[in-house]
Symmetry: C2
Subunit: 150 residues, 2 copies
DNA sequence: CGGTATCCTATAAGATACTG
DNA sequence: CAGTATCTTATAGGATACCG
């Protein structure tokens, strides 16, 4: 087995993020957790994901510190676990929102339920955008990705 | 000749977006295109991606309308192609930014080049955030994903 | 140099059986 | 019910040969 030196891209934070969070089910699982669906069977049912996959994804996410396994027990039952977002997991909601926004605009579905992003205080519909340090949205054509250091 | 069509089972826009844009190399390719690296060999060299994969990803992205193949020719050479982002491709930069921001915060690398997002007019460092209709950033804990219709 | 075609491997995904 | 283990399939990824 040749282990070649990792190319520059491997060391890039985009790639590490996409490797962990870009798996097909992962954003959907995070969304369920965020909306309060935090138990194995509930997640499985809502998403229709195979149970082995859900096990694997939750384990990966827990190992990466994105999800926290939290024990609970109901009367007479053994200890089980709920899965809660950590701070890192909550930060990942921006990726989710960005994916969803893009999908809605450029790969729209043909009917059925839609999910919107809203401000729970005002009810306003939310976008995902680049923002400056004052929290103002910046137009896309003003955005530059610049390489620093090395 | 893969014309990757999204199966009918993908009723969710997050899933469709992640299927197309969540492939490991795709965000990196889009980033290169955005920064002006638009020719096959240049992209290949910067990313260290295998040529067959780059061919496949560019074809998929072109078929999805995210990338436009634009012919050019240099003196005495045959026609070749540059790959440019379409509007849909530019919209995907938000996903890129979100992935990168998350990676920087929660899966940071240990030295080497970093890529920042800046306002090219002011030089300000940019975040990716949820924003309200007035373009103001909204704190993460005010964001709700709500299911409508269905 | 700018790609495409071929072959191989690694892994995600799916179905389903199984265990406490 | 809440998972884990096993098996199969589909596909992304990688190396490299090849062709204009």
């Amino acid at each position: 087995m040749t282990t070649t030196e990792l190319p520059d891209s491997m060391t890039c934070s985009i790639e590490r993020a996409v490797t962990l969070l870009g798996e097909r089910w992962t954003p959907l699982i995070l969304r369920e957790l965020h909306t309060g669906v935090v138990r194995f069977g509930d997640i499985q049912q809502r998403l229709g994901i195979a149970t082995n996959l859900l096990t694997a994804r939750l384990a990966t996410l827990a190992a990466a510190g994105v999800v926290e396994k939290r024990p609970y027990r109901e009367a007479g039952a053994r200890t089980r676990y709920e899965y809660h977002l950590t701070d890192a997991g909550r930060d990942a909601l921006v990726i989710l929102g960005a994916l969803q926004q893009w999908g809605d605009r450029h790969a729209p579905r043909l009917g059925g339920p839609t999910i919107e992003r809203r401000d729970r205080r005002t009810g306003a519909l939310l976008d995902v955008s680049f923002t400056d340090p004052e929290g103002r949205a910046v137009p896309l054509d003003a955005v530059a990705f610049v390489r620093t250091g090395g």
